[in-house]
């Protein structure tokens, strides 16, 4: 089962290694991880998507909370948050297939951000599922390279994870 954790940390050296170290040390798997500062420059947010059963995720939350620079940990509830990933996909694109690829990109509401005689680069910002769908759709043309960020997520409505 996949869980999304939103973690606020003090923005200081070594925090990321403390957190990633904790995962590997305790045998927890990280699916994706994204870090960035928040509206408070002293505080960063780390969004982690992790895999595990209820026991694992509960332990994870508790162990994360024990790290001194960790200010807050919240497990986002399924269906109650919006999540996004950013992906850049470089697809092989022979002239004959160009129209087809453009059509697919349009249907998915993605964007072509670079074109060259033999390939196009597609930019897409969506939830992980939609990103995977786009990858599946483009696969038949030949994917040259994928660059993908970790998931970032935010609560729907007025709820928030803040200091």
């Amino acid at each position: 089962m996949l869980y999304t954790l939103s973690i606020l940390v003090e923005n200081q050296a070594g925090v990321l290694s403390k957190i990633s170290g904790l995962f590997s040390r305790r045998g927890f798997n990280i699916d994706s991880l994204a870090v960035g500062i928040t509206n408070d420059p002293n505080v960063s947010r780390i969004t982690i998507v992790a895999n595990g059963d209820e026991y694992v995720v509960e332990q994870l939350e508790k162990q994360l909370n024990k790290l001194i620079p960790v200010i807050k940990v919240k497990r986002l509830n399924e269906g109650e948050f919006i999540s996004r990933e950013l992906i850049l996909i470089k697809v092989h694109c022979a002239a004959a297939k160009r129209a087809e690829i453009i059509k697919t990109v349009e249907i998915m509401q993605a964007k072509i951000v670079d074109v060259s005689p033999s390939c196009v680069t597609v930019e897409y910002c969506e939830c992980a599922n939609r990103v995977n769908t786009l990858i599946d759709l483009l696969k038949p043309y030949g994917i040259r390279e994928i660059v993908r960020t970790g998931t970032v997520a935010i609560d729907r409505g007025t709820a928030s994870v803040s200091v």
Binding site: S17, V43, E58, N65, K66, I68, K72
Partner: protein, 540 residues
């Protein structure tokens, strides 16, 4: 102007530190130059690991964080086992290491080691100091973090230029403000009420008490609760000493190497109140079996321990003192049914057997059993690791004193340096070490620390010429093939004692050993007693 090194000393003084254990080197020299003139006593150990163990012994007996110091590189890496030992035993400790110049960090210069990185899994928190002006805040935070919540070691790594740079003035903060560190000490009222209801509804409750009861200083509260409710008590290895051993409701240590009666009571119980214990695998081998039939109440300051090893119906996160007070207030005049306490008393009587004696040898379990009556009631016994530890854990009759050992890491060589720390914390008390011939040789270099400071520590070496506990394991599980467990080439321990100028004797029977001990308990000098122990003596 004031230098970083002076600030470090002033911070220690501000924290009321009177003794630190350490070993110098180039990268920590500015600090050593300043502590030289200060009122703080520096105890030179003979290897850095032992500085950490000494700080641990000190912390456990003084109730204040222990402090140890080492230089960069090998000095720092030598500390790691000591830090890890303190971490698993939840001992409050502040560890100070020197580091190479900040502008050289990461270049692999002479004696550079990434000690904050290396210690990551073994510290409660660590700092690599980057500005001299940060030192007061960091020291303040380090002592606060080490000694509050679930206690543990905090490492401060200080590059040499941070020690030599000066700033305008020294101001020690009187408060800490760490956004991510606010341990919950209160204890949830509703959870306590639920616990009280469950206790009242139980027929065969037991308490499992761990090191958390001792580190929060509430053993007398626990005893009050027990005397009131008549709930029998089992302890973990780290919890030994929560009750006087002779208390009729105390059943001893649980677990693989514990007392049968303790394990039996745990097995038969319908309610278990776990107090400040993490119930590791050595304590409860099959935790899922335990929670199937029993209701578990788990009280701990560390929420991550609750539900980690044993399924828990009623979790109570909080400081043991607060929660114990709340329990005592709410429990009313509840007392356990006589039937349960009578059964327990019966089992307890049934199970006692005098161990057999081998001619020409000291029977270690019997000797440890008699030891307490030869000492003052507040004696501190420090056991090492191996069979000697189990003999002590199960047979020492603790009264108002302490039993120190490493339960979490089981680090051989702990006892002698830890006793050094204990003696500095409690100079007025008897401090006795019991160790094996193997573990003795892991820290016998500290005899110099003992001799050099004329520390009144009595050391009993249980010489079985074996790495006894592993030998026993090989006998039970590996067809008696004694691979690397026979101690060949061991020195004459009496001559070693002599070389350090420490009085000594050897015993080959219990009568002899007891006579020697009685003769030396009241002397104010260190002493080493070598007891010849039959090599096949079992742990239990």
């Amino acid at each position: 102007m004031i230098s970083g090194a002076e600030i470090m000393v002033k911070c220690l003084e501000a924290e009321g530190v009177s003794v630190v254990f350490g070993y110098p080197g180039a990268a920590i020299c500015p600090f050593y130059d300043k502590i030289y003139d200060s009122s703080i006593k520096h105890i030179l150990v003979r290897e850095e690991q032992n500085a950490a163990h000494a700080a641990s012994g000190y912390a456990r007996c003084s109730g204040r964080p222990g402090v140890c110091v080492a230089t960069s590189g090998p000095g720092a890496t030598n500390l790691i086992t000591g830090i890890a030992t303190a971490y698993t035993d939840s001992i409050p400790m502040v560890v100070i290491t020197g580091q190479v110049r900040s502008d050289l960090l990461g270049r692999d210069v002479f004696q550079e080691a990434d000690i904050t990185g290396a210690c990551e899994p073994f510290v409660k928190h660590s700092y690599l100091v980057s500005k001299t002006e940060d030192l007061p805040r960091i020291f303040k935070e380090a002592f606060h973090i080490a000694s509050t919540g679930r206690q543990g070691p905090v490492l401060i790594d200080i590059p040499i230029d941070i020690q030599t740079n000066s700033i305008d003035e020294f101001i020690y903060p009187d408060k800490v403000n760490i956004m991510g560190y606010k341990p919950n000490t209160k204890g949830h009222v509703v959870q306590v009420k639920r616990a009280v209801e469950a206790i009242k509804a139980s027929k065969r409750p037991v308490i499992v008490a761990g090191g958390g009861v001792l580190s929060s200083g509430v053993k007398l509260k626990l005893q009050e609760f027990v005397d009131k409710t008549k709930i029998p008590v089992i302890s973990t290895m780290m919890g030994i000493g929560v009750m006087p051993s002779e208390h009729e409701l105390y059943l001893g240590m649980l677990g693989t190497y514990g007392k049968a009666v303790a394990n039996r009571a745990l097995h038969e119980a319908d309610l278990v109140i776990v107090c400040g214990a993490r119930l590791g695998d050595r304590a409860v081998a099959a935790p899922d079996q335990m929670s199937e039939k029993t209701t578990v109440i788990h009280i701990d300051i560390d929420p991550a321990e609750i539900g980690k090893n044993v399924k828990t119906e009623i979790p109570i996160v909080g400081d043991m003192r607060n929660v114990m007070n709340m329990l005592i207030e709410n429990i009313g005049d509840f007392a356990v049914l006589n039937q349960w306490s009578d059964t327990i008393r019966l089992w307890k009587k049934d199970l006692f057997k005098e161990p057999p004696v081998f001619d020409g040898y000291v029977e270690p379990r019997t000797l440890v059993g008699h030891l307490s009556s030869m000492l003052h009631s507040k004696a501190i016994l420090v056991a090492d690791v191996g069979q000697n530890q189990i003999w002590c854990a199960n047979n020492f009759r603790i009264r108002e004193g302490r039993f120190l050992t490493t339960g979490g890491m089981g680090t051989m060589g702990y006892s002698i340096p830890a006793a050094v720390g204990a003696k500095f914390a409690r100079p007025e008390r008897d401090v006795i070490v019991v160790c094996g011939d193997g573990s003795f040789q892991m820290s016998l270099n500290e005899l110099a620390t003992i001799a050099g400071n004329n520390l009144n520590i009595k050391i009993i070496i249980m010489r079985n010429k074996r790495l006894g506990m592993v030998r026993e394991l090989q006998d039970n599980n590996y067809g008696g093939r004694h691979s690397a467990t026979i101690l060949q080439g061991d020195p004459d321990f009496l001559k070693i004692a002599d070389a350090y100028g420490i009085d000594h004797a050897e015993a080959s029977s219990n009568e002899e050993a007891e006579e020697i001990i009685r003769g030396v308990v009241d002397s104010d000098k260190p002493f080493i007693l070598v007891c010849n122990v039959y090599p096949d003596t079992p742990s239990i």
